[in-house]
Structure formats: structure tokens, C-alpha cells
Subunit: 350 residues, 2 copies
Amino acid sequence: MSTPLTIALDAMGGDNAPRIVVKGANIARRRYPGVRFQMFGDERRIAPLLRRMPKLRNVISIEHTDQVVSNDAKPSQALRQGRDSSMRRAIEAVRAGTAAGVVSAGNTGALMAMAKVALRTLPRIDRPAMAAVFPSQRSECVMLDLGANVECDADNLIQFAVMGAEFARTVLGLDNPTVGLLNVGTEEVKGHEAVRQAAARLRERQGAFTFHGFVEGDDIAKGTVDVIVSDGFSGNIALKTIEGSVRLYTDFLRKAFKSSLAARLGYLLARRSLNKLRARVDPRRYNGAMFLGLNGIVVKSHGSTDAFGFANAIGVAVDMAANRFNEKIIVELDKTGGDVPPLQAEAAAS
Amino acid sequence: MSTPLTIALDAMGGDNAPRIVVKGANIARRRYPGVRFQMFGDERRIAPLLRRMPKLRNVISIEHTDQVVSNDAKPSQALRQGRDSSMRRAIEAVRAGTAAGVVSAGNTGALMAMAKVALRTLPRIDRPAMAAVFPSQRSECVMLDLGANVECDADNLIQFAVMGAEFARTVLGLDNPTVGLLNVGTEEVKGHEAVRQAAARLRERQGAFTFHGFVEGDDIAKGTVDVIVSDGFSGNIALKTIEGSVRLYTDFLRKAFKSSLAARLGYLLARRSLNKLRARVDPRRYNGAMFLGLNGIVVKSHGSTDAFGFANAIGVAVDMAANRFNEKIIVELDKTGGDVPPLQAEAAAS
């Protein structure tokens, strides 16, 4: 029998920690039999929550620490002062190899900074990126970066493309994923220097994915490509714009069903189908942004999610670990030279 | 009696021109009695369409031209070669003062370039911006820039804020509009140099609007502020992401109602309410992006819209002209010095 997969959990991160972390772990325990958890945080607050979860107690260990990274801590501050925090210690478990991945619902900037320092970036990757999976009219797509890198050059974008494609292959199981660069139009002349340069170089590239070209904001939901690459500024705005639009539509829909007696009756009849729809667009289902490009699996849960959402974030970490995403991406980066410059030299050599 | 308001129409712009332009004008004629139209384009194609619209014929004049700006023409090319195009001549009607505004569903880049050259920017405005009105959970908000300026500095963003606020006051009728800067977080340290600088200067500013601070992508739908200011890159991505998300949700909803007999019956009962909902999120209702910051009213219709959508774009131009938006914004810019630098000098002088 192989060693059981262990996931480190930052018990103190997020708006409703440690309650939703413990409850989320309990949901994940049922979903992923054989997975074990290492939970970092205030034992006095965690232990009482575990009292009524005997099965979770069997697969969990608690590592006590008093320190917590606050939500408004700057990354630099968290790095200096948070060495004994639940977040840092959970990350260190991944570095030490006692955990295969870490999940936190805490401060995003701090998590990224600590993960970068503790785990380092993969060879040939300059900057890690935040990625998440989105539902689309065709099936689903992965988008990155979602906010880790506010400014990106062409090299960063190309590295994101390689990582996103590898994620699509390894975790989503797509053979030859298509990759699109998020832009304000599909014509070659559109956009700023970084996207145009990245596109020019991706067009010439041979590899384990097909470069589709530029895509626009509506292509995310359309499912035009399997992987959408963006700088972290626009990617984050797109991510949150989707969340806001879905919430607005859901709100309008609820009001529509309350606006007349006939509509109320209609709702009752269609309820079962509508509940399925709600589950399909439920943001909790897509909770768990991955930090790609690190020597270790780091998943960021939405800070305000509930136990169900947190369990899904754990699921993302389990999937990545079980599929050996990081091992495979290192092989892929070795093969392509990471596509970092000079691509010209590489092309000349081949 | 005052002179009737005249709107110039580019009959040849858009995917289904000139048909939807003529039909759209006919819808607008019923909605805005007293408004006249000057239509630029191929008379041989326009005249037959007008045959069965005697009332429209009474309020329309046709200015014949063979030339059309194609959808894939570069702005520079359109400027050089399109002097006798339907688009350019419609814009020239605004410059000459025979029309109060122009509406086109044609090539966006060409329309912006021609409008800039022919009409010039307003005093103290460096670059025009594309703006549109969006539905929100609170009511509606205006967002700019939506794609005219891929890269923006702090000055541009501040000018957009002044123009957007004036639009909210003049056209949306809001007394002291709130303005937010689109960013990846609400904390002061978030985002790149341009947004941080613009925010710092807007925070110190006294004027006809209240600066709220940074907003995120989900604040568009929430209606957190009346005016959302963004660079054209992220703004365009947000705009199209909204379109895509609404279409995805509508598609999922349609499928949900078809998934069982009970759901189908439910749909029939709720249909009237759902149709109202559909109208509320209908992108055609929000068709018509305004180019703010020009000496003249220019409205861009979506290229693939239908007659109903085109009529709404005409409505935007009529509203702006009737409310004397440009006259008022000049007064406002005069008052504030447009907030263009040096703001420090201005502050010292006061």
C-alpha cells in the first residue's frame, strides 16, 4: 500500500475559521477516502469542533499555533512576523514533505508571498499564477492569472500558457488543449505590447497545446478555448465580474419568481430543475484557486466560503496531488525550455 | 418653436446594414417624436427599405455615398481612404452642425479615429473614452473606458472620472454621483501605479461627485457606485465578460426549463415574469456605447445588434443631445480645470 495522501489545512484562514475549515475537512473526508489532514491552528478552538466528528478525528492531526495572519496584513509584514502562523506552518508542511498540498482561506497576498519564499518557483517559471476552473457553454475552462501578478510581460504570459495547458492535460484530462490570450479583440494588432508579443511567440511554438490566438471576455463563458491566459489585473476583474453577473442574474430570477402567483406556482413545478441549475452556477462549486508554478501544491479558498466550498478547495488540492501535476509540469517545462527567451535561439537550435 | 433635433446615421455600418439601421430609425421615430434623421449610405439600398415606411420618410433625408468603412480596416487606413465613407460623412454632419449627434454600428476603431480627427477632444481632455450604462442590483451605473484606450495613465483615469460623473448627473439625473476606480482589491496598496496615483489625487479632490475609492469586478453588478472608471483594456474585458456570463446563464436556464415535463409546465406559468426578466437583462436594452470627451455626440452601436438595439443606440444619442451633455461637461471641466496636472499647483493656488 502506498503512503496516504496528506493535505495541510490552515485552520485559521477565512471569515468563518476554524469552523468552516473543520466542517469542510469532514465533507472532504467522506468524498476522498484515504486522504489524511494536518490541521494548523488554535487547538483550543479546533478540538471542541472535532468532538462530534469521530471519523474525521481518525484521519486528522492538529498542530497547535496561536499565531494567525490577519486579513489586512501586507505580504511583507506576514513574511516577517508570521513565521509561526497557521498559514506559514501549513505551507512548511508541504516544503518538509509531510503534506502533499496546502489549502488556506486566508489572506491571498500573504499566502502567495509565503508560498513563494517557502516553496520557490518551479525551474523556468519566474512568477507563480493563480488559476481556477470556470463553467462554460461547452464544458469548462481554466483561467490564469487571477490576481497574483498585476503587471505581466510576454514571458510571464507564455509561462502561464504552458502551466495552464499542462493543468488542462493533467487535471482536466484534455489531450491537446487549446489556449487563448485574453485581449480586447481577436485581430493581431489589438491590445498592448505584452499580449501582442506573447501571441507572436506562441503562434510559432510547437508543443503539447494548440495556441488559438486572442480571445475576448465573452469567450470565457462560451468555452472557445480550454485555457485562458491573462495578466493578473484583467484576470481578477474578469473573475469578479463573472461572480457579480451570476449573483445579479440569480437575484433578478428570484424576484421574477416572486412577482406573481402564476410565477410562484411555476417555480414550484420547475424547482427541481432550477436547483440543478443553481448547483451548476454555484460559485462554491468552483471554489479553490490554485497557485501554479510552485514546488508544491497551494490552493486558495475564497475567504467567505462555507464548509461545502472549502471541501471543494480541498478537492482541488487532492486532484492536483493525485495527478502529480507538479511532476508532470516540470517534465513539460524541461521539454520546451519553458518557452522563456530566447525563443529565437531555441528555434534556431532545433 | 426650436429647431428639430437631427441625428446623423451611418446606414452602412454593422453586420446587417442598412436594413437594421433603417428599421431602427423607424422604431426611434415612434419613440422620439420630433427627432429628424440624416442617413448616410447607398441610396439604392436604402430607398427600397424606406418604401413601406412613409412616416419615417417624412423625417429622414438620405445623403448618398458608395464608400463604406470595412470591419477589418485599420483606423489609420479608414482615416486616409474613408473620406467619402458613410461613417465619415455622418460624423462630418455633426462637425458642420447639421446633426446634433451620430450613431454608427460600424468599425469601432475607425469611428473613434475619425471622430477624434473631425470633432477634436474637448478642452482639457486628452483622450475620449467609450462609456455605457449597465444594470445593477441597485439601479444602473455608467462604466468607462470600454476599449478606446488600451493603456491609460492617472491623468486619463481622472478625466474619465470627471466625464463619467458628469454623464451620471446630466443624463442619469443623479445629484452627487459616486465614482469608483476598478481595481483588483479595495485597499490603497492594491493595483498598478496608474490606478493608485489616480486614486490618491481623486481622494483629495473636491467637486461635483464623491470619490468612493477602489471597486472590484463584482461591484459593477452590485451597483456599489454610480460611475466605474477603468482603463480600456480591463473595461472592455469586464464588458464582454458580463455579456458572456449573462448569455451562459440564460442558456443554462433555458436548458433547465426543458429538462422535465414539470419544468416545462413551470415555465409556462412563470413565462410572463420570465419575459420581463429577459427584457431586463437584454443586452440590446443597453446597446449604444458613447464616446465621451469629443466636441460632438458619437454613439457606437454593437455591430451585430438588431433594429430594436439600434433604436436604443439612437436613444442614447437623443438623450445626450437633449440634455446638452457636452455643453455641461465643458462648464464642469472649466470649473475643475479638468483635474489635469499639476493638481498640486492648482491646490496651492486655491
